[in-house]
Symmetry: C2
Subunit: 157 residues, 2 copies
């Protein structure tokens, strides 16, 4: 299929690698998703810790576990990773608090969460479903897409 006349200036040479390019782009997209997965737990935890600190003055593992729908040992294990990554501070058998880095991440996540929920609602999704879907969607919304969402929700009262 010779379509070199379709795009003057673009030679057939581009055709063979076009497939490879597409494959590479697709691989990149999948890699991005896998990458996002690695940050998901961290993001949800710091977001939730920030919420609990705001409303309760502290974030207890037992409350995190209840809100996340997991068992306390799971929280302990995941918190250890957050400590390793410098996102939270912990004293044994006591509550958990965010480091500065953790606060920064939490703020960004909360903002993104709100914008995603607002966008879904603006698109006609009911608020319960919006909240539920947003919890997963948020982690895959790039900065650029977030800007588009923001534009959309603000540009309509």
């Amino acid at each position: 299929m010779d379509n070199s006349h379709d795009r003057p200036g673009v030679r057939d040479v581009t055709l063979a690698p076009a497939d490879e390019r597409a494959a590479a782009d697709q691989a990149d997209a999948f890699a991005s998703v896998r990458n996002a997965h690695e940050s998901e737990v961290a993001e949800d935890y710091v977001e939730l810790i920030a919420e609990l600190v705001d409303s309760n003055g502290e974030a207890r593992p037992v409350d995190l576990a209840e809100r996340l729908g997991v068992k306390p040992p799971t929280v302990t294990k995941n918190i250890s990773r957050l400590v390793r990554n410098g996102l939270v501070r912990r004293e044994r058998y006591r509550s958990i608090f965010l480091t500065e880095k953790g606060v920064a991440l939490a703020d960004a996540c909360r903002r993104r969460h709100r914008i995603v929920v607002a966008t879904l609602i603006a698109l006609g999704v009911d608020s319960e479903t919006a909240e539920r879907d947003a919890e997963g969607i948020e982690h895959h919304v790039s900065d650029e897409t977030l800007v588009a969402f923001e534009q959309f929700v603000t540009s309509r009262g």
Copy 2:
């Protein structure tokens, strides 16, 4: 802390269970996300297998690996799970094909994928970013949200 008797209006009766309700809803949302994660690989694989069969007449593990950005042994292992779940058919050292169940899932996933991409583009996201973000977002879009997306993209030419 038993304050069940000093109730000047709403405070105690509604607040205590309201919190639990909110916590339970939140836990449900997180559980949904974890659940979606378990289907993600299956969805991406059958979607990709369908695409490869359409364009190449067959889906070879080596091509799946290239498109997914993973190594061949990873594909082999994941395909084994898909076989276990009745989504694909395989003869050793040969190509992979979808079962009826796999075709059904692939069709649904491809449709959803297209709608999510179209929605992002309609919201002003450029098509590369839309494609990239959609690869992750799609798995967290509920049926109801998908309907809203569909409405949105069709109701604007």
